[in-house]
Symmetry: C2
Subunit: 352 residues, 2 copies
């Protein structure tokens, strides 16, 4: 049995979308026990429409809902200890849940998660990992915006965490990992990225294959299972890809309605277009995973529909079932033992 805590109040549509989403996830995974947190007035009516879910869950009424445009500091001030967001995270901390899922605003959810769960031993800063559809399937990209900038050690931490997540999510033994960089020319690249690459290669970890540097276009190609970068460039890559997909979608719609011939063609090819739309639908691959905290928190896209929210719950289910947290802890320990064996402190490149 997997126990999942859900913040019903998050997202652009709140319980109206989150509750049916949780219901869909339950149909796929009848072994989930949900604890649902939300404002009584807004949730009871919707829950009553989903008797199977009501049966498989406990509803915990809360006093406060964090709004989608609350700043992190505001959310902490008025929502700590008593908001549905806080309490669903807290359920992970107390051990009452294996994972927490919220469609609430990212800044507030990250601030509360850090405050409540704290970062893991040996981890300075958490990361947000996105699941990215590629030409070869799916890849993991992190950090997509938890923190700006990262030194070599933090990039190495992200690498360990991303590799553990890939093993839990894709159920592969040895995922491939690339560090995002800009070309392979000698004058190019960030120093931190270069140093991280050197140290990762040296450590020769058994839990993943280090591929080397990858560039922006390698993400969509699916060149590696995990792409590691700091939060500024990762967030820009993610948002830019979303923007490009929407842009091409709008070109396509315009092209298919411009002439009579095109409209006829569209009717014939409608099945193909529907498949394509489904493939390009960000809701299908939904769920940012907060890594590096003492507990797993899944962030669903705020604009996701019920199917999208269910996809985020699916991710949380896989992470919990496959022991993501234990995998990360195991890899971090192994890495630090190996580093100690090399006895070259991180940041000291004088010996190279």
């Amino acid at each position: 049995m997997i126990r999942i805590a859900v913040d019903l109040m998050g997202g652009d549509h709140g319980p109206e979308v989150v509750v049916p989403g949780v219901g869909k996830a339950l149909e796929r995974h009848p072994d989930i026990r949900f604890t649902l947190f939300g404002l009584e007035t807004e949730c009871r009516g919707v829950l009553d429409k989903h008797p199977a879910l009501r049966e498989a869950s406990t509803f915990v009424p809360c006093e406060v809902a964090v709004s989608m445009d609350d700043k992190p500091s505001q959310a902490l001030r008025h929502g700590r200890y008593r908001s549905s967001m806080w309490r669903s995270i807290e359920a992970v901390k107390t051990g009452d849940a294996d994972v927490c899922v919220s469609a609430g605003n990212t800044g507030a959810l990250m601030a509360m998660s850090r405050f409540c769960l704290r970062t893991m031993a040996n981890i300075d800063r958490p990361a947000i990992a996105a699941i990215w559809p590629t030409m070869r399937g799916e890849s993991i990209v992190l950090d997509v915006g938890a923190t700006v900038g990262a030194d070599a050690q933090q990039l190495i931490d992200f690498t360990m965490m991303g590799a553990a997540m890939a093993r839990a999510l894709f159920e592969i033994e040895k995922p491939t990992i690339g560090l995002l960089n800009i070309g392979v020319e000698e004058i190019k690249g960030q120093e931190e990225v270069k140093e991280a690459g050197r140290l990762i290669r040296e450590a020769a970890m058994p839990s993943f294959d280090y591929f080397g540097f990858v560039e922006g276009d390698d993400i969509g190609k699916g060149t590696v299972d995990v792409v590691v970068t700091e939060g500024f460039s990762g967030n820009i890559a993610l948002k830019t890809a979303e923007g490009t997909a929407r842009q091409i979608g709008s070109y396509l719609r315009a092209a298919m309605s411009r002439t009579l011939m095109a409209r006829i063609g569209y009717l014939f090819a409608k099945g193909a277009f529907d498949l394509l739309r489904e493939k390009m639908d960000p809701g299908k691959v939904n769920g940012g995973v907060f890594l590096g905290l003492n507990g797993i928190v899944i962030k669903s896209h705020g604009g996701a529909d019920a199917e999208g929210f269910a996809a985020a719950v699916d991710v949380g289910y896989d992470m919990a079932r496959n022991g993501l947290k234990a995998k990360i802890e195991h890899d971090l320990k192994l890495y630090h033992n190996r580093r100690a064996a090399f006895a070259v402190p991180v940041g000291d490149t004088s010996s190279s």
Copy 2:
């Protein structure tokens, strides 16, 4: 008359593609006088097939061609003073050409351009500006990879240069400018980006409208005419968008050939698909502009076909005809006068 120096040896296909490309550009702009640089053995034969171009141009035989995988240091070592790349840049320095166009490798072209032309007064570092197709037309994005990282003053320089380029390229009086950032939440964003934004707003330049921060998805939306960022994230955004476009293109091809109905639909809608392909064709919008040097250098995509190379020549033509360099110099001078009037040194935020 506009005088353009062309390195015939650059690109994946060399003179076989560059020469016809230059020929196409000449048909569109009969007022260009070309000076063409290349290896005699490889260029004469191709040039003889383009008599109109031969008529409107001077061919200068060179001893060396920089190869597409020469590192910048190698290119400088064996190609300085005598390669077709160097000599076409040098023609701009000596005043024999208004602009130089090359499809040679970016690292070598930038290294040689910096070495030969030097950066403009008051400019620390050059930038590469890309022309980005958007839902509203085209935008300029810079820097897309000349240098990694940028402090507030460098971001401000990029802003001035990008605004001048937008006025020259789009022929609009007051382009809108945005600084690329990751969300507007208080904990987010780079300090340099925030400081640059504050200083740009304070300067209230008459030559552009400062919009504020934009995110990755705003690029494809065309929210602003010019998007300013440092070279690492700019390069990653550009490559990620290219990768996403290719990815969706491949989904589309697969979807349209999967069933008989889809294939019939494709035949009906073929005209629409051709238009779409043209719209998504990177060759249609080709030409990275090196900004911040004492002379204009245009980098054509190495894989561009003749039409793509002609598009890069078009960009060079517009830049020269509309006095890009003078516009940048004018704006930089105005900005520094205004800053002097404020008398707050850049980097000193104690007064804010």
